[in-house]
């Protein structure tokens, strides 16, 4: 039985705008095991991205409990949250989010720099990550010189370079054509097979089926779960 990596209990997220309460998430109970690939699906406005932001410590839940690797993380200070994100979470965004002023190598290196890793170790990890996504030959290029598919592969390399506990992907193929989308999904599959824990938001049922488990959100609530939580 794989050990539990993420545990959400009765998590809710309420936005207050001009004294009007909007419940973006309500009563979320979710457990993610190590090595699992979880897909989060649902229509626009169902709370997928909000849930992913909370899972990635980019946003805070307004209620409930949230543990990562057995440790409560809901009430961490901003500095501690940054530390957890840096060390344990890798992000893959729909729009790649590479920094235009940095080379491919530097983009991948950036989270390792924030971690305070020694230069030689950083270099080794970046090269490994770029090799893994097949982009080592473009390490000196600027993001603007790459295609969308290549940029997303670099973003994947950046996410995995630090060897995080969890990879969070928000519509990773949303800005790609089908060929590049499939290539990226193949990459994610390989990462999953190599033992990575993946949580992916997608609206594409075909890609969701690649995951080991799928949770469906509607109006901020989990309305359906399919698949097994065993990795």
């Amino acid at each position: 039985m794989a050990e539990t990596l993420i545990e959400l209990q009765n998590v809710e997220k309420v936005f207050l705008t001009d004294e009007v309460e909007t419940h973006a998430l309500s009563n979320i109970h979710l457990t993610v095991k190590k090595g699992e690939w979880l897909a989060i699906v649902g229509p626009s406005g169902s709370g997928k991205t909000t849930l992913l932001a909370i899972l990635g410590l980019l946003d805070t839940a307004t209620g409930g409990s949230f543990m990562i690797d057995g440790k409560p993380v809901r009430d961490l200070s901003p500095a501690d949250r940054a530390h957890v994100r840096n060390k344990h979470i890798g992000f893959i965004f729909q729009s790649f989010n590479l920094i235009g002023d940095l080379t491919v190598f530097e983009n991948v290196e950036l989270p390792l720099t924030y971690r305070g890793m020694a230069p030689a170790e950083r270099k080794k990890r970046v090269e490994e990550a770029l090799n893994r996504v097949g982009m080592s030959h473009r390490s000196r290029h600027m993001p603007g010189q790459l295609s969308g598919g290549q940029q997303q592969r670099v973003a994947v390399a950046r996410a995995v370079a630090g060897d995080p506990l969890i990879l969070l992907a928000d519509e990773p193929t949303g800005n790609l054509d089908s060929k590049n989308g499939q290539a990226v999904m193949k990459l994610l599959s390989e990462l999953h097979q190599a033992g990575s824990t993946l949580i992916m938001v997608t609206h594409d049922p075909a890609y969701a089926r690649l995951a080991t488990r799928t949770v469906s959100l509607f109006d901020g609530r989990i309305v359906e779960e399919t698949g097994s939580s065993a990795a």
């Binding site: 932001a53 980019l58 946003d59 901003p78 940054a82 992000f91 924030y114 971690r115």
Partner: protein, 803 residues
């Protein structure tokens, strides 16, 4: 360090990618840092750095002070008074100094500046010769020794730095002097002097010189002695001297001895203008910082997604702030590099405009200390302009900013902050403009003051006959002066020629006590005293200083004729208001010139102490009756300085001429102390105005860009271009008006600072404040009008598609 270098590298790369932003920010910083560095180099050289004397904290200047004439006066000491100081046990050493020029006879005659000093002067200053020695008290006495010290500059230039210069002789004013020492490099006192010679006091005359005051005096306090103790000791000495020599120290004069730190003696007159300018330039730098901060706020709005991403992958807020501060530092370092080049380049221009006192006190340059200041200034500047934008930019809502389609908006707090910065810029600009405006008006008022003569078309030449052929030989001097006037009068183009011992507004003054026949002193009123001048026939005509009554001196008023005098209108107003004084007699309170002199004419007033000071009562001697040691020849006509030199040099080629220049130039020099802060403050105010205009333009442009969709919508539903312009202008000008009000309040509150620098105008002059306020408002309308007009031309279809 590796991370810092990496951050710096990224920063430089990012700045290169946005050249418009980078150029604007670096230029603003370069101007601010450069101007501050240049002014600091003056502050450092004049107010902070050693003036080349040893242990300055123990150095004091001692001076005479008279408190019994209604106003406190004082200054130079007499030789016996300077020698009296040697009796004060609290002084380690003391000495006297005066500056003159002498004819140095070599291959040709050349006029050089010579310092005459008593024994103990160099010891008091803590200055030791590089080679050789100084002189002993015994060598101060006439006939004991003809020795001289050479400055390091003269040692290099005239003796090719050869130590064998010691023992060589030079001829100054016809007398030979043996070089006994070389002064160290960089030493100067009251400006550069090529040689220093002892006084050679005639022992038999020394006692008579107690009433002749021309020496600057310095003393070095023994270790642990405070200036208060020194003042008490000087008071005791003065009291003893008054009792011992009642003939020289009339009770009603309330004569005393005063002490002040030597640095204050030399920097006192320039300290306030320099500090005002330093304050002003720091305000300009603050405006530049506000400008760059505004640019950074706009830029960070555009980079919101990047910061969110950095935060998402683990950068803490501190890390983001550090990254942004590093970017700020990269810009500031570039600004510093350009600023130092600008400062080095502008320093010569600045010094050319500076009062002579500043140039003479010290070598003003950009040295290591000034560079160190620039570096510290750059770091502080970075914190000032980059910290707030960095704190704001790093406070990013990561989840929102990373949503696909999200784009940077600075939000209401950032808009408020940017408006606040613009308001502050406007307020500081108004403050500086008000200062500059007041000084311009003050200076304009001064320029309209008549000097009491017509300076146009008059050239002056200083005549200083000296040496065995002229010293103690009044007839020889008279002949020299008469020959000089005759030689210039015979030149074609000469309309009127004369001479006087001290030109008005030249900074050279001389006053004596006198008796006036028929004048009854009121009880307690001190003896009449005032400025004395010695004029040759033709002087007043050459200067076009109109006669009011009687006649001018003529060639007939010579040594054989009855002694005559002239006075000015101020003298008449002071002693015989409304009366005809021609025929009245005056006698000097002096052994030598004690005969009665009959007033033959009254001349109108000239501004003897400069345009900003009222004309004092002046009593003129006929120079032909008692020729002074030196005179200034004045010639009206179409003559050039070269014409005068060519005519005067052959009279006695061993007597080189000095200071041959138009009178207008001399008058202009007398305004240098006022012109210097005016020019710089004016330049700073213009710079502040430009930076503020840029700031207003930048913020308005940004606001227009942010509201493009809204403006497009307004136009689509029928807003006219005028309405759009009004909409944009009203937002921008509201901030400007608040800034103007704050600036006006600050200008009124800070008016006391400038009061002492103004002439004929109130420091709270409402006209000036209104005028500069209107100017700033006009500039603000233009600066925000450009983006407002751009807004009026927004294509509604394109704007509405931008989402």
């Amino acid at each position: 360090m590796e991370t810092l270098l990496k951050d710096l590298r990224f920063a430089v790369r990012g700045l290169k990618r946005t050249p418009g932003f980078t150029i604007a920010a670096v230029l603003a910083l370069a101007l601010g840092i450069g101007a501050t560095t240049a002014i600091f180099s003056v502050v450092h050289a004049v107010l902070l750095q050693s003036l080349g004397w040893g242990e300055e904290s123990r150095l004091i200047s001692v001076s005479d002070v008279y408190k019994g004439r209604g106003v406190e006066m004082g200054g130079a000491m007499s030789p016996p008074e300077v020698l009296d100081l040697r009796a004060i046990p609290l002084f380690e050493s003391s000495g006297g100094f005066s500056s003159s020029s002498s004819a140095l006879i070599g291959d040709r005659a050349e006029r050089v500046k010579v310092g005459q000093v008593t024994a103990g002067f160099f010891e008091a200053l803590g200055v030791h010769p590089l080679f050789g020695r100084t002189w002993t008290p015994d060598e101060d006495m006439k006939g004991k020794s003809n020795v001289a010290l050479t400055s390091f500059t003269a040692f290099k230039r005239r003796f090719q730095s050869d130590p064998a210069a010691i023992g060589k002789t030079i001829t100054l004013d016809g007398e030979w002097y043996r070089i006994i020492g070389v002064l160290p490099e960089g030493f100067s006192y009251a400006g550069p002097h090529e040689f220093f010679i002892p006084y050679s006091f005639p022992p038999e005359k020394l006692a008579d010189w107690r009433g002749a005051h021309w020496l600057e005096s310095v003393a070095r306090l023994k270790r642990g002695v405070s200036i208060e103790s020194a003042r008490a000791a000087l008071k005791d000495l003065a009291s003893r001297v008054r009792e011992q020599y009642p003939k020289y120290y009339a009770k009603e004069d309330l004569w005393d001895l005063a002490a002040q730190p030597l640095r204050d003696r030399w920097t006192g007159s320039v300290k306030q203008p320099i500090l005002i300018l330093f304050g002003a330039v720091l305000l300009v730098l603050l405006i530049a910082c506000a400008n760059v901060a505004n640019l950074l706020l706009a830029r960070s709005a555009a980079r919101e997604r990047e910061f969110a991403l950095r935060a998402a992958i683990g950068a803490s807020r501190t890390r983001l702030v550090r990254q942004l501060l590093t970017e700020g530092l990269a810009m500031a370092l570039a600004g510093m590099a350009i600023g130092i080049v600008l400062a080095a380049w502008g320093l010569d221009v600045l010094l050319a405009a500076a009062p002579t006192r500043i140039r003479e006190l010290n070598d003003v340059r950009i040295d290591r200390a000034v560079l160190a200041f620039s570096i510290v200034l750059t770091v502080v500047t970075t914190l000032v302009f980059a910290l707030v934008p960095a704190l704001r930019a790093s406070d990013v809502d990561v989840a929102t900013a990373l949503k696909d389609g999200a784009h940077g908006t600075s939000g209401a707090p950032a808009v408020r902050l940017r408006s606040l910065l613009v308001g502050a810029q406007v307020a500081i600009s108004l403050f500086l403009l008000a200062g500059a405006g007041l000084m311009v008006r003050s200076f304009a008022t001064l320029l309209h003051v008549s000097p009491g003569f017509d300076p146009d078309g008059v050239v002056a030449a200083e005549l200083l006959p000296a040496g065995p052929a002229y010293d103690d030989k009044p007839d020889a001097r008279r002949r020299y002066f008469e020959d000089a006037v005759r030689a210039v009068s015979s030149l074609p183009g000469a309309k009127a020629v004369g001479a006087i011992d001290r030109l008005p507004a030249s900074g050279s003054n001389y006053s004596l006590d006198y008796f006036i026949e028929g004048y009854q002193q009121a009880p307690g009123e001190p003896q009449p005293s005032g400025q004395i001048r010695e004029a040759m026939p033709g002087y007043f005509a050459a200067m076009r200083q109109p006669m009011v009554a009687g006649r001018e001196f003529t060639a007939a008023d010579d040594a054989k004729a009855p002694p005559v005098a002239m006075v000015n209108e101020a003298w008449v107003r002071r002693y015989f208001p409304g009366r005809n004084v021609v025929g009245q007699r005056i006698r000097l309170d002096s052994n030598k010139r004690g005969e009665w002199r009959t007033i033959v004419g009254v001349v109108s007033d000239a501004r003897e102490f400069g345009l900003d000071k009222p004309a004092p009562p002046v009593y003129y001697f006929a120079a032909l009756q008692w020729p002074p040691d030196q005179m200034t020849l004045v010639a009206r006509g179409t003559l050039s300085a070269a014409d005068l030199r060519n005519a005067l040099t052959p009279i006695d080629p061993t007597q080189p001429l000095d200071q041959v220049r138009p009178i207008a130039e001399i008058l202009s020099s007398s305004l240098q102390q006022r012109r210097f802060p005016l020019q710089l403050l004016g330049a700073f105010a213009v710079l502040a105005l430009l930076l503020s205009a840029l700031g207003i333009y930048g913020v308005t442009s940004y606001a227009v860009a942010q509201r493009t969709r809204e403006i497009g919508l307004r136009i689509a539903i029928g807003a006219s271009p005028a309405q759009v312009v009004r909409l944009v202008l009203s937002g921008s000008l509201r901030v400007v008006l608040v800034g103007l009000a704050a600036g006006a309040l600050a200008a009124v509150a800070g008016s006391r600072v400038l009061a002492s620098q103004l002439y004929g105008i109130s420091a709270r002059d409402p006209l000036t404040l209104t005028a500069v306020g209107a100017l700033l408002a006009l500039v603000a309308v233009v600066a925000s009008g450009v983006p407002a007009l751009r807004a009026a031309r927004v294509d509604p279809m394109a704007a509405l598609k931008t989402e």
